[in-house]
């Protein structure tokens, strides 16, 4: 029996498929550019010419910068080709009281976060300055639509941490071109007609309508929510998380700018509604806007009218009248496991949840990176790698659910059953409830992490908790509140205020920087 894992077959060519292909191919010698001749590693991507991609995931995490760098795409090309802009975090509106309230979750951690936890010291200042502004300069850039860097900053480097907003369709195209032309990925455009099994239950090959039978040692299911391999073929069920996170519908549209030089937002805007929330993502070319809601609490008609009202208020009546709205429905949750036999699911085939913290693309990056780095040497070892992969990603999904739910449980809104039910203890995961009980007496910090590669650092929990007015009762027995530490913390707050002033006065707007990138590009160094 042939044992080594040499041929990887990816089924599906959306963002998930091509991003996975790029990440795995960049980690292995393949194609013409390889320096050794006695290897025979091969990566094939089969894409149906007939199935359109869904095109979600317009927001990324900062991790996308290192992912792109590793794949070998220049940031200038990426920004030009994918209509990308800079995302520095999320700005939440109306999540707390339902009216005129705002808080931010910036990507940069609080000042001096590795050594000092500023959260306890901010408790005394909470009436004077909001948490995010007190500990970090980034949120001040949001208000003025300023960029995280300038044209003289080398590509992928920054003044304040950032990810991207991007056009998912264009992103898949750029990745495809780079994978095929530079990384040696074989691209097959064909429809899958059958999945063929080996004696041990593995997938041995895939039959196609125009390209015959395609053999493989490992199959990656990037076929979207249908999960043709893991779901339909193997019957791995979906685990619903709708008891915690109620949203299961989205109405999505694109809004043109009134004027081609209109400002581009620095953060994803998230505005809470009666039974859901509206995302607003600024690309250089257009805004992507959508209402994500729960069909258990509101009707499509009502969700639509809230969306149109938002568009009319933030763009124009005309823009609202012209909007073409697309409806997407989903069952929030993930597969019971992601890697079964010699098949692993990445992207929507592995699960989908509301994009409140843009967790879709980062899960693709993390999944593909783990496969790339821990590619099983042979079939025998694959079951072990699969077991570890499943453990790791089940843990990650649980953390995502906890973190997203935190945004809901802290609300003080009682204007609809949706918000009331979101605060019901039965809708709160036990793991989150435990953390919240602890946080009543001590602010989140590094010790809250179980794993070295936690998806959400404790800084993120701080931004949500204190952005939403969570009260932590400090224990006076701790030295950390004594005079000396308090003075040091005060010094850090001052430093941050100075740095904020300096950045606000020196950073270009996103629009100015994007225009310069189109014209001059970034330098590599």
């Amino acid at each position: 029996m042939k044992n080594t894992i040499n041929r990887i077959v990816i089924v599906g060519g959306g963002t998930a498929g091509w991003l996975s292909a790029g990440i795995i191919a960049a980690e292995h010698f393949m194609g013409e550019k390889s320096s050794s001749s006695n290897h025979n590693f091969h990566l094939v991507l089969i894409e149906s010419p007939d199935i359109p991609t869904i095109g979600v995931g317009e927001g990324t995490w900062p991790s996308m910068r290192s992912t792109l760098k590793k794949i070998g795409i220049s940031e200038t090309d990426f920004i030009r080709e994918c209509s990308a802009s800079f995302k520095q975090g999320t700005e939440f509106h109306n999540w707390l009281y339902g009216k005129d309230d705002t808080y931010t979750h910036p990507f940069t951690v609080p000042h001096n976060f590795n050594e000092t936890n500023l959260a306890p010291h901010w408790q005394q200042l909470r009436e004077k300055v909001n948490f995010a502004n007190a500990v970090n300069p980034q949120s001040a850039l949001f208000e003025k639509q300023l960029a995280p860097k300038n044209i003289a900053t080398p590509e992928y480097s920054f003044h304040v941490n950032y990810g991207y907003h991007l056009d998912a369709g264009k992103f898949a195209n750029l990745l495809q071109q780079h994978c095929v032309e530079t990384l040696g990925v074989e691209h097959i455009s064909a429809n899958m007609t059958a999945i063929n099994s080996a004696e041990n239950g593995d997938i041995s090959s895939i039959s196609t309508d125009t390209h015959g039978v395609i053999q493989g040692d490992l199959f990656i299911d990037c076929s979207g929510s249908k999960a043709l391999l893991l779901g339909e073929h193997y019957g791995v069920p979906l685990v619903s998380k709708s008891q915690f996170l109620f949203n299961n519908c989205a109405l999505a549209t694109q809004i043109p700018y009134q004027n081609s030089e209109d400002p581009i937002q620095s953060a994803t805007l998230s505005t809470a509604q009666t039974s859901g929330w509206i995302w607003d993502i600024g690309l250089p070319t257009r805004r992507g806007v959508g209402h994500i809601y729960s069909s258990d609490y509101t009707t499509e008609e009502r969700a639509r009218s809230e969306l149109l009202k938002y568009i009319a208020e933030t763009a124009s009546q005309d823009a609202a009248a012209d909007a073409t709205i697309r409806k997407i429905t989903f069952d929030p949750g993930h597969r019971e496991k992601f890697w079964h036999k010699n098949c692993v699911a990445i992207g929507m085939s592995s699960g989908f949840i509301e994009p409140l913290e843009a967790s879709a693309l980062v899960l693709v990056e993390l999944s593909a990176a783990m496969i790339a780095e821990q590619l099983p040497a042979n079939r025998k070892i694959m079951d072990l790698v699969a077991k570890r992969f499943n453990e790791k990603f089940l843990y990650r999904w649980d953390r995502i659910v906890d973190f997203l739910k935190l945004h809901y449980v802290l609300t003080q809104r009682t204007d609809s059953q949706y918000w009331i039910d979101n605060c019901d203890p039965s809708s709160i995961p036990e793991s989150l409830q435990e953390l919240m009980d602890i946080w009543q007496y001590q602010p989140p910090w590094h010790r809250d992490n179980y794993h070295i590669d936690e998806m959400f650092p404790s800084a993120s929990f701080q931004y949500i908790l204190y952005g939403m007015d969570f009260k932590t009762q400090l224990d006076p027995r701790f030295k950390r509140t004594d005079r000396e530490t308090a003075d040091r913390a005060m010094g850090l707050f001052m430093e941050n205020a100075k740095r904020t002033e300096q950045l606000v006065s020196s950073m270009p707007t996103n629009r100015e920087l994007i225009n310069k990138i189109y014209k001059y590009g970034f330098q590599k160094i």
């Binding site: 300038n150 003289a152 900053t153 310069k516 014209k519 001059y520 330098q523 590599k524 160094i525």
Partner: protein
């Protein structure tokens, strides 16, 4: 701030330009843009590095005159003491541009910075004679400005070639003076000599035919001038 106006005999009949150099004439500059065509002369006096434009992010070559902002270690009571002065410094307070209906029909337009400390009403070199004709001084300046314009185009190609081959790298120069104080020079770039040695024959031939190869080695050779610059600084801080 600068205040450039188009040069004309009518407006600038009485305008004079001071040719002395010193702090009062605005020569306290830490570095100046230079052109590859003058690297041979530059390297005999100054270290050659590269800097990045804050406006476009693009690289440009510079000659270094000091270790701090507004420090020009070549200025002394006799003016600017060096065998060669960079073209971009020499051209002050003039600027050249071209205007015309088509590429073949371009006419040089010379502007002058009326806010420059080098401008005077009665001292220094006159620009036009009694018959409103350019003086020898202005004619010589025009020639310099034209070669500056050609140098500009050549420089663009030079920089594109350097970045395409990854031949630039950032560096930090740490200098300890005789009095124990340290100066750190940051934000400049140098030629990556390892990458330079790895260039293949065809790239070298291409560089040579375009006039890029000699300036690259002139830049590398110029690092020897850092010592002289440190000596000047030491002499000042004694």
């Amino acid at each position: 701030m600068s205040n450039y106006v188009v040069l004309s005999p009518a407006t600038h009949k009485n305008t004079h330009v001071l040719t002395e150099r010193g702090e009062a004439q605005g020569d306290s500059i830490q570095y100046s843009l230079i052109y590859p065509l003058e690297f041979r002369n530059i390297q005999s006096c100054y270290p050659i590095f590269f800097s990045k434009s804050g406006e476009t992010g693009e690289f440009f070559p510079i000659a270094l005159f000091g270790f701090e902002n507004n420090e020009n270690l070549f200025l002394d009571e006799n003016g600017w003491s060096a065998a060669y002065i960079p073209m971009m410094v020499e051209r002050q307070p003039f600027l050249i541009g071209y205007q015309g209906a088509s590429e073949d029909d371009l006419k040089p337009i010379v502007s002058i910075d009326m806010d420059s400390p080098k401008i005077s009403e009665d001292e220094g070199q006159a620009l036009f004679d009694k018959d409103s004709q350019p003086t020898e001084f202005l004619k010589a300046m025009m020639t310099k400005l034209e070669s500056l314009h050609h140098g500009h185009e050549h420089n663009k190609g030079f920089i594109t070639a350097l970045t395409a081959e990854d031949l630039l790298e950032p560096f930090t120069l740490e200098i300890t003076l005789d009095n124990g104080s340290t100066n750190q020079l940051m934000g400049f770039y140098t030629i990556n000599e390892n990458k330079l040695q790895e260039l293949d024959g065809s790239t070298l031939a291409d560089f040579n035919s375009k006039g890029y190869l000699q300036p690259i080695y002139m830049a590398v050779a110029s690092y020897a001038r850092i010592r002289a610059l440190i000596d000047k600084k030491n002499a000042l801080t004694k």
